[in-house]
């Protein structure tokens, strides 16, 4: 039982390049989330999904897109990377039922934009 798995773990991009971060969960969770963590700041919600085929914006969605084609996967895309998107990205999922269930996190993707 792997829980929440994020790939890749590290990545360096040049400004303007695109990439996709993958999150996979094996717990049959309905809800999935993408957060970013920056020094001196709390984790901030980028986008989230309440079920397969659905997505919604969080606190800091600009510059990112997401897709949830399969229940177990949640993809975060950067179409044209900017230095301000240098951060650690965390994916999380939470079980069915009331949405105030605890979220379970992956170990993050460390992304640097040069």
């Amino acid at each position: 039982n792997a829980g929440v798995t994020q790939t890749p773990k590290f990545r360096v991009l040049k400004t303007g390049q695109s990439m996709t971060l993958l999150c996979a969960q094996d717990m049959n969770h309905e809800y999935m989330y993408w957060y970013r963590q920056d020094p001196g700041m709390g984790l901030r919600l980028i986008h989230y999904s309440v079920g397969e085929g659905t997505t919604a914006k969080g606190e800091v969605p600009d510059g990112y897109n997401v897709s949830r084609l399969k229940k177990q996967n949640f993809l975060l895309g950067l179409e044209s990377a900017a230095p301000s998107q240098t951060s650690v990205y965390f994916c999380a999922s939470s079980p069915p039922g009331p949405s105030n269930q605890p979220q379970h996190f992956g170990d993050g993707t460390r992304l640097s934009i040069l």
């Binding site: 929440v4 809800y31 989330y33 957060y35 001196g40 700041m41 709390g42 984790l43 901030r44 919600l45 989230y48 309440v50 919604a56 969080g58 606190e59 965390f90 999380a92 949405s99 105030n100 269930q101 605890p102 979220q103 379970h104 996190f105 992956g106 170990d107 993050g108």
Partner: protein
């Protein structure tokens, strides 16, 4: 706007020296308050959920409590392996995501 403030930002204790971490919050309609532990290079690890004022949860040397304005994470007789950053987060109103504080970096010296 939901706000979560954690204090202190950093805390250094001797092994066995008990203390408390604070999480104060300003939200409209609290649905849950969550404590997480985060080790360097890792994702947040879930510790506790508190749903209503007066609720308490315990796990080994940790005890979390909740009032209408704040939560405390009490650490009793800590060990070096308790060293980590402790994060507090709230879910409120109609939000599906969490609002996090900046965390308390705890160091337990042998």
């Amino acid at each position: 706007e939901d706000q979560v403030t954690q204090s202190p930002e950093a805390l250094r204790l001797q092994e066995g020296e008990s203390s408390s971490l604070n999480c104060s919050y300003t939200v409209s309609g609290l649905r849950g308050l969550f404590w997480y532990r985060q080790d360097p290079g890792k994702g947040p690890e879930f510790l506790f959920t508190l749903y209503s004022a007066g609720e308490e949860k315990e796990k080994e040397r940790l005890k979390a409590t909740l009032t209408k304005k704040e939560s405390f994470l009490h650490i009793t007789a800590p060990k070096p392996e308790d060293s980590a950053t402790y994060l507090c987060a709230v879910q409120a109103g109609s939000a599906d995501g969490l609002t996090f504080g900046k965390g308390t970096h705890l160091i337990i010296q042998p």
